[in-house]
């Protein structure tokens, strides 16, 4: 039976993982390659790297990181952040990424999603949707949740599927950083509106939240950063908890 996936997310800037990491005996707490290695050994099903480097001068650093990780970690690697054109997708894939996540540029240039999916296949195109509740619906936001787009999140998800996205990474900006759990209503609404897999993100504070994301939110995968980085929970611990709650996982 297909397992629900657990995906740790690493925010990378200027070649270093930020948000703080607290692995036991980790010599260099901010080294993305070391952290990726640890997560792989702990049983992560995939890894997502989000490049939050502001300056374009240091953008190539992520390519070197992905090259180094891909040479020794043989699970799917997704990279997002600053993907603006098909050339960016190509550079990341050539460096060893298996999937590329497109966020703001999907809004400013939806054709990019179609062009990238046509050229490299839907399997490697993830569209990241940052969404906030506005009145009685959810709206798509860009620029880290600062910029409203006026787009309805459910309609947007369907449009991205039709343009060739192979997967959606759905982040609730209302819940992100709150540790109060996923926006289950949003996750479920989008998961039921499309046929492609949904990765739920934003708000995980404990292991029950992961279970709820799958059970109530109907997510196909759950993404979390801080609960794993700060060593509150291990990946293996999270998987055992999910299994105890009747969720199929890869142990």
């Amino acid at each position: 039976m297909l397992a629900k996936r657990i995906i740790p997310c690493l925010d990378v800037t200027n070649g270093r993982v930020v948000k703080g990491v607290n692995f036991v005996e980790l010599k260099d707490a901010g080294d993305p390659v070391e952290i990726a290695r640890r997560y792989n050994e702990a049983g992560a099903d995939e890894l997502t790297f989000l490049d939050i480097t502001a300056s374009s001068d240091n953008r190539d650093l992520i390519l070197h990181i992905i090259e180094a990780v891909a040479a020794e970690v043989f699970i799917p690697l997704t990279v997002g952040g600053g993907v603006r054109e098909v050339g960016d997708v190509q550079r990341l894939l050539n460096a060893g990424a298996d999937k590329v996540s497109i966020n703001t540029s999907a809004v400013t240039n939806p054709q990019l999603v179609k062009d990238a999916a046509d050229r490299y296949g839907s399997q490697c195109i993830v569209v990241a949707i940052d969404s906030k509740r506005v009145g009685d619906h959810w709206e798509v936001f860009t620029h880290g949740g600062r910029k409203a787009t006026g787009l309805d999140a459910i309609e947007w998800a369907k449009k991205m599927e039709s343009l060739g996205a192979g997967e959606l990474l759905l982040t609730s900006m209302d819940r992100d950083g709150t540790k109060s759990g996923f926006d289950l209503e949003l996750t479920r609404a989008i998961s039921e509106a499309v046929d492609i897999p949904i990765i739920a993100s934003g708000g995980v504070g404990n292991l029950q939240h992961l279970v709820d994301g799958v059970r109530e939110g109907r997510a196909d995968a759950v993404l979390a950063a801080s609960i794993f980085h700060f060593g509150e929970y291990g990946i293996d611990e999270a998987k055992k908890y999910m299994k105890q709650h009747g969720i199929e996982v890869r142990l």
Binding site: F74, G96, G121, E167, E192, D220
Partner: protein
């Protein structure tokens, strides 16, 4: 100079993961990602990966003049098809109504929308994406050291339906059983991605780079089993 292992490049997707994983399990081998038919013909073993749509794959194979080299390699030397590189070995794909290489009898079809529900009635997504159990139907040198039911990483919307059940080497469930590995003489092909399947995948690739199909055929002959 001929290479030990040729990874066929026909412009369909990113082959870096495949070549990296093979280099990892065969550090002493020369591995070349190539679209040169002569290099494929001269190589000791051939890996045939692929992503994207069947019609585009077939068009790119022919645009590069690779069809004959692929067919010859699949019939003569250790050959590993991966994902789309498995599907196009068959005669026909429903995806884009595409005539494929026809090395193996059978067809390729999409996960049917009406069947995509689990036993609780929840919708199952297509593509089938993630880690699923692979059940080994027959003993095979490429399964050596891999636990029955081990999980491999999949991402696909279409699956193969071999016309000859005897080529089926493995199956998975989504939600019904479907063929995810086939074996015939020197050829082995898988729907999942061994290059992305951590230890189980590396074990399979490691088995491939040392596989000697001639030897296993002899063993089959001696045991009297039907190994055609």
């Amino acid at each position: 100079m001929s290479v030990d292992i040729a990874v066929i490049d026909y412009g369909m997707g990113n082959l870096r993961s495949v070549s990296k994983a093979i280099e990892h399990v065969a550090p002493a081998a020369t591995v070349a990602v190539t679209s040169d038919p002569a290099a494929i013909t001269a190589a000791g073993r051939v890996v045939f990966p692929g992503q994207g749509a069947a019609r585009d794959c077939m068009r790119e194979i022919d645009a590069r003049g690779l069809r004959q080299a692929i067919v010859d390699a699949a019939r003569s030397k250790p050959f590993l098809g991966i994902c789309m590189g498995m599907q196009v070995l068959f005669e026909h794909s429903e995806e884009g109504d595409t005539a494929c290489l026809g090395i193996l009898p059978g067809s390729v079809q999409r996960f049917p929308h009406e069947a995509m529900h689990d036993d609780r009635g929840n919708k199952l997504k297509v593509p089938h994406m993630g880690w699923n159990n692979v059940h080994q139907v027959v003993p095979h040198p490429l399964w050596a050291g891999i636990e029955e039911g081990a999980r491999f990483y999949f991402v696909h919307s279409y699956f193969v339906q071999p016309a000859s059940p005897e080529v089926i080497a493995g199956f998975s469930h989504y939600p019904f059983p479907f063929t995810c590995a086939v074996a015939s003489a020197n050829m082995f092909a898988v729907q999942f991605h061994p290059e992305k399947s951590q230890n189980a995948g590396l074990t399979l690739l490691g088995n491939f780079v040392t596989w000697n199909p001639g030897a296993s055929e002899t063993a089959c002959d001696m045991s009297g089993a039907a190994c055609a």
